[in-house]
């Protein structure tokens, strides 16, 4: 009987031992994941804090052109110890208020562009500032979809652009407003200020922040690793 109890004791010990070993190995196995998650959290929090500090140096979310010139990456570097890289893109929404029927332009438009033959009759027009100068713009539709932008280049000549075309000073046509109720009345332009992430490491995280300079939206993508 004593021998049987010893066997039962040894069996119980064995079972607990197996479970302990399993638990310890599971715990050890989880540590990298926890560590990695903690690392990610730290990167997110620190990157967010760094961008928050950057934006709040002026008004909230307002960037100065000085910041862009001196390099946002360096400025963000003041507030984080992680390696990081930034990509910056600038957006301009052309807001065009009015419309007219082809061939009956208002007095503010001296000559109309040479439209495509299949362009619809109603065209949207207005003026907006891109870069340093103000231009007249006309947007036309084909088959119910606005897809062409005309810019008055002065002296009565117009240049036509479609999606993806560069119109002036690196500004590229990003999208046409084709949703109801006021289709064609806005066009989004974009241009890269800092084109690509110059480098990146493993386990990197990315935070996108949006701010503004004057009347332009700035997207700052910060990659941290």
């Amino acid at each position: 009987m004593k021998g049987q109890r010893s066997l039962e004791l040894m069996g119980a010990f064995g079972l607990v031992g197996v479970v302990m070993i399993a638990t310890v190995s599971y715990s050890l196995g989880s540590i990298p994941a926890i560590s990695q998650e903690a690392d990610r959290t730290e990167k997110y929090v620190e990157t967010h804090f760094a961008t928050e500090k950057l934006f709040s140096e002026n008004e909230y979310l307002e960037l100065s052109s000085n910041s862009l010139e001196s390099g946002l990456s360096q400025e963000i570097g003041q507030y984080t110890n992680f390696d990081h890289s930034v990509k910056i893109e600038e957006f301009k929404v052309l807001n065009l208020e009015s419309s007219f029927i082809r061939g009956s332009s208002p007095g503010s438009i001296q000559t109309e562009p040479n439209y495509r033959d299949d362009a619809e009759n109603e065209v949207i027009y207005g003026s907006d500032v891109v870069g340093e100068d103000s231009y007249q713009f006309i947007v036309t539709a084909k088959d119910g979809e606005y897809d062409r932008l005309y810019r008055n280049t002065g002296s009565g000549t117009w240049s036509a652009s479609s999606l993806g075309d560069t119109i002036i000073q690196d500004w590229t046509v990003l999208s046409f407003q084709n949703r109801p109720p006021r289709e064609g009345h806005s066009v989004v332009l974009s241009r890269s200020l800092v084109e690509e992430f110059d480098e990146s490491g493993d386990n990197s995280i990315k935070i996108n922040r949006f701010g503004y300079i004057n009347d332009r939206i700035i997207r700052v993508e910060v990659l941290t690793w």
């Binding site: 119980a12 599971y26 926890i34 807001n95 407003q177 949703r179 806005s186 989004v188 949006f210 939206i217």
Partner: protein, 371 residues
């Protein structure tokens, strides 16, 4: 044998404790999803604010163009985010302005001469406007033009201003009670008019007509059609009471009392003492008047209140307006997201104001972001 079972039970208990510990303490939560939410909240807050600051959102608002808002957000966020908003129901579209004019500030014109034989204006010219079988009276003192008082063919009292002394009858020169007429570069509200007693009661409302013209101006393509009305009172209301009414209201007109000693307090229907404090204030100068724009929330609605207080001692009158923000969150449901499989929706509010001439029109727009 019994001891052996005890060992086994202890071992099983130990195993459960160890398992519970390892599962509970070492659980790694799904952080990936949380950080995506975190990023989405940043994007919605950042873009709501930035688009307002660049003036783009105001442009969308002025055009009533929710599609431009959605298109811009999708473009700028690389198609990752969708936004839905309700920007119809601009507060300015629900504007009703009621001006209280105190009765003791009126001007009565009673000095009329009878006119029967030597009509300044030929009978046939006055015929469409007046019943010439009744007496016709004229006053030549108050205005630079002759003012005729008589009875219309329908039996109502009316006046006719002999513009240019040419007896040029036009609809603009014939007036009845509650009309506004312009004379000598001033706007007058025609309150009481009686041919029988030869009495005319008028109020100079030039200041408010000027405000009306500014509010009605079509700047930024904002088509504002306010209802503007004058109420003449007999000192039954206090100087800091304003009669405010709301268009399309299912409730009756209401009175708002401002505590002038403590500008941050106001009461809806003073008898009920419903406090609508927690005002934010915006100040905008308009001409010689002081215009305060206050906002507050009242139940599930937001209201914007503009108060214009005239310092002109000749007329003790107050202009007040209510800008109702009739946008409720449920209206957002009417706007369709173009993408149906959304992981999460985030609600934001965009608070701003549209500049229309020198008048600020505040707004609150509720937006819903999805990704």
């Amino acid at each position: 044998m019994v001891k052996g079972i005890g060992y086994i039970l202890e071992a099983i208990l130990s195993m459960f404790i160890l398992l519970a510990f390892s599962v509970g303490a070492l659980q790694v939560t799904g952080g990936e999803q949380n950080w995506e939410d975190f990023q989405a909240e940043i994007v919605s807050e950042d873009l709501s604010y930035s688009l307002s600051q660049t003036g783009d959102f105001q442009e969308f608002m002025a055009r009533g163009d929710s599609g431009a808002f959605q298109t811009s957000v999708e473009s700028i966020t690389e198609q990752n985010y969708q936004v839905s908003s309700s920007i119809e129901g601009l507060p300015s579209f629900n504007l009703r302005v009621s001006v209280l004019v105190l009765d003791n500030e009126n001007e009565d014109i009673t000095e009329f001469d009878e006119l029967s034989e030597d009509l300044e204006c030929a009978e046939n010219e006055l015929d469409p406007a007046f019943d010439l079988s009744e007496e016709l009276y004229v006053n030549t003192d108050r205005f630079s033009e002759e003012l005729y008082l008589g009875t219309s063919n329908e039996g109502n009292s009316r006046i006719f201003l002999n513009e240019g002394a040419n007896c040029e009858l036009s609809l603009e020169s014939i007036h009845e009670e509650t009309d506004i007429f312009v004379q000598d570069d001033s706007d007058f509200y025609l309150d009481e008019l009686s041919t029988g007693s030869q009495e005319l009661s008028i109020f100079d409302v030039s200041i408010y007509e000027e405000i009306r013209s500014v509010i009605e101006s079509n700047e930024n393509s904002i088509n504002i059609e306010p209802e503007f009305s004058y109420f003449v009172t007999e000192n039954e209301v206090e100087s800091d009471d304003f009669l405010l009414t709301k268009r399309d209201s299912v409730t009756s007109d209401m009175m708002v009392r401002f505590n002038t000693d403590s500008p941050n307090e106001a009461y809806i229907n003073p008898d009920e003492d419903r406090d609508i404090s927690r005002f934010k204030s915006l100040l905008a100068d308009y001409s010689a008047n002081i215009m305060e724009a206050e906002s507050s929330s009242l139940g599930d609605r937001s209201i914007e209140i503009n108060v214009t207080n005239s310092d002109n001692e000749n007329i003790r009158a107050i202009s007040a307006s209510v800008l109702w923000v009739s946008i409720e969150e449920q209206n957002i449901e009417n706007e369709q997201f173009t993408r149906t499989n959304l992981n999460r929706e985030i609600n934001t509010e965009i608070i701003g104001s549209l500049d229309s001439d020198e008048i600020l029109i505040p707004y609150v727009v509720y937006t819903r972001w999805g990704y």
